[in-house]
């Protein structure tokens, strides 16, 4: 069981602040590090994996500093975001090399177990240069698991994966977490994070914006005013019907056609809308969320 502890950690590059006074504890189980691009997720993971010194504050793994301390890599498996690998090696050679560098007693066997775990046994003798993005991701994963680490850090692991590979990796992460490993992965997609992570840490613009289980984060993100544009067969009727319902805070008829809706309760609104439309014989032509971009969700979180 390993715990990563960040205490009042800040990191700046010249006069740009990438991480601003973040304190968090990452314990056993799967933790999702959620935030938009450029929020400082990679900077945080670099500091948690000993590849960056915090400008102020401390980052420790089980009480040991991570910076300039190569011993910590006995416990850590790191899956970097960057694609680059030793392209001239085969998948098997690459994972075996990683096992050897860890000084394992039987590098070959460890590599085979690790490769099997990520389902790359069939492709292990091809050179990495022929691998697809998803295969690269999996062989990276195998290389980071080869020494059976208690901590697994993954930077944007789902990028470039097809749905099936995504499901498989999610399953793998869940298993790792259930085994008591400390698993942390970063993502900018809420749906991705909440499917795997028990605990979610949200970072926005370098700050630690929210922390909690996925239910708490989802409520924070969805119990906020949501704006939609509806196009219907009868805008005026639909607007008046919706206004009468508690889930809608405001409705405005747009001069060019359509209704702008501000929903106060997203969950209820999405249930009520089709029913009301059907009951009143109004045909729904289009329902478009206008501020569903992740940035607006995060902006809301920061201001909350």
């Amino acid at each position: 069981m390993s715990v990563i502890l960040l205490e009042h950690v800040s990191r700046w590059y010249r006069n740009v602040v990438a991480v601003n006074d973040v304190s968090m504890t990452i314990g056993p189980g799967v933790t999702g590090l959620l935030g938009p691009n450029g929020a400082g997720k990679s900077t945080l993971i670099a500091m948690m994996s000993g590849f960056l010194a915090p400008s102020t504050g401390t980052v420790t793994l089980d009480g040991e500093p991570l910076w300039r301390n190569e011993k910590v890599y006995r416990k850590i498996g790191l899956v970097p975001e960057r694609e680059a690998l030793f392209d001239y090696l085969t998948g098997r050679q690459f994972v075996v090399a990683n096992a050897e560098l860890h000084g394992l007693a039987d590098p070959g066997a460890a590599a085979q177990a690790s490769i099997a775990l990520v389902e790359m046994t069939d492709a292990q003798d091809r050179t990495i240069s022929t691998y697809s993005k998803g295969m690269r991701q999996r062989i990276k994963m195998a290389s980071s698991l080869v020494h059976d680490p208690t901590v697994l850090l993954l930077d944007e692991p789902f990028n470039g994966m097809d749905p099936r590979q995504r499901m498989h990796l999610m399953e793998l992460l869940r298993t790792m977490g259930a085994e008591g490993r400390t698993v942390l992965f970063s993502s900018h997609i809420l749906e991705e994070v909440e499917q795997v992570a028990r605990q979610i840490e949200v970072v926005v613009a370098g700050r630690h914006a929210a922390s909690g289980d996925f239910g708490a984060i989802r409520r924070l993100m969805t119990d906020r005013p949501n704006r939609f544009v509806l196009r219907t067969g009868d805008d005026r009727t639909m607007a008046s019907v919706l206004l009468a319902d508690g889930s809608v805070r405001g409705a405005r008829l747009r001069p060019e056609g359509g209704i702008e809706i501000e929903a106060s309760d997203f969950g209820r609104f999405s249930e009520v809308l089709p029913r009301l439309a059907r009951d009143h014989g109004v045909r729904l032509l289009e329902v478009t969320p206008t501020d569903e971009s992740l940035e607006s969700v995060f902006a809301y979180l920061v201001s909350a």
């Binding site: 590849f51 300039r68 190569e70 860890h102």
Partner: protein
């Protein structure tokens, strides 16, 4: 962490040097040197001045540093550039193990593609005096080691190690070294020539003691290795974004 030699790092290093098109140059440079030596021998015969100019002017000043530059930067620069060095660094091994294992590969390249060719060219040019080739081979070896250490440090300091290394070789070692006498005190090529002198029994550079050259060469090697390892201990994966 104790410092050892890692066959894994070395093995990956060998693949990295020869897995790139640049690696071909490692074969071209010594071929040119030996080819020229054969040509000079055929045209001029066994002549001390011609032999000296070929082996010193082309061997020690051009081939040795270029082989060291190609080998060392091929081992370090691409991995640092694309971030794949993180797979070596995220391991519980001393950073000096990584540096020394890579430098062992670089040294092997220098021996195979610079020292042995210089030795062979020396024997071609002065068959009757094998000590000539031997001395210049020794100079090529010490100079090559110092250049490797220097270029290793350059690789971890800048992303443009090859270009900076070439500029340094062209401007400092070749151009200024030829124009200004004082450069000899701070020139790896001239130190290697000074080390070659007593064994080869020729005069290559004036006013540079073999003692000074040996100490300066050792200092560059030790400092280069030490600073490279230190820099790798504090390696930033995210770069300086």
């Amino acid at each position: 962490m104790s410092v050892t030699f890692s066959t894994t790092v070395a093995r990956i290093g060998v693949r990295s040097v020869f897995g790139r098109r640049r690696g071909v140059l490692l074969f071209v440079l010594p071929a040119v040197l030996i080819g020229l030596a054969v040509l000079v021998r055929l045209l001029v015969g066994e002549d001390e001045l011609a032999a000296r100019n070929t082996l010193y002017g082309l061997g020690l000043v051009v081939v040795v540093p270029l082989v060291a530059l190609l080998a060392t930067t091929g081992l370090l620069a691409p991995e640092i550039d694309d971030g794949s060095i993180s797979y070596l660094l995220a391991k519980p091994i001393s950073r000096y193990t990584i540096v020394l294992s890579k430098l062992a590969v670089a040294t092997a390249c220098v021996v195979a593609f610079a020292v042995v060719p210089v030795l062979a060219a020396g024997l071609v040019l002065r068959t009757s005096e094998p000590s000539f080739g031997l001395g210049l081979g020794l100079g090529a070896f010490t100079g090559g080691l110092a250049y490797c250490a220097l270029f290793a440090l350059l690789s971890v300091l800048t992303r443009h190690a090859v270009v900076v290394g070439l500029i340094y070789l062209l401007i400092w070692e070749s151009l200024l070294g030829g124009l200004l006498d004082g450069v000899r005190w701070l020139s790896v090529s001239r130190w290697s020539a000074a080390i070659a002198e007593p064994v080869a029994d020729v005069s290559l550079v004036d006013g540079l003691g073999v003692g000074y050259a040996a100490v300066a060469t050792t200092l560059v090697i030790v400092l280069g290795v030490w600073l490279t390892g230190r820099r790798l201990r504090a390696f930033n994966l995210t770069g300086d974004e």
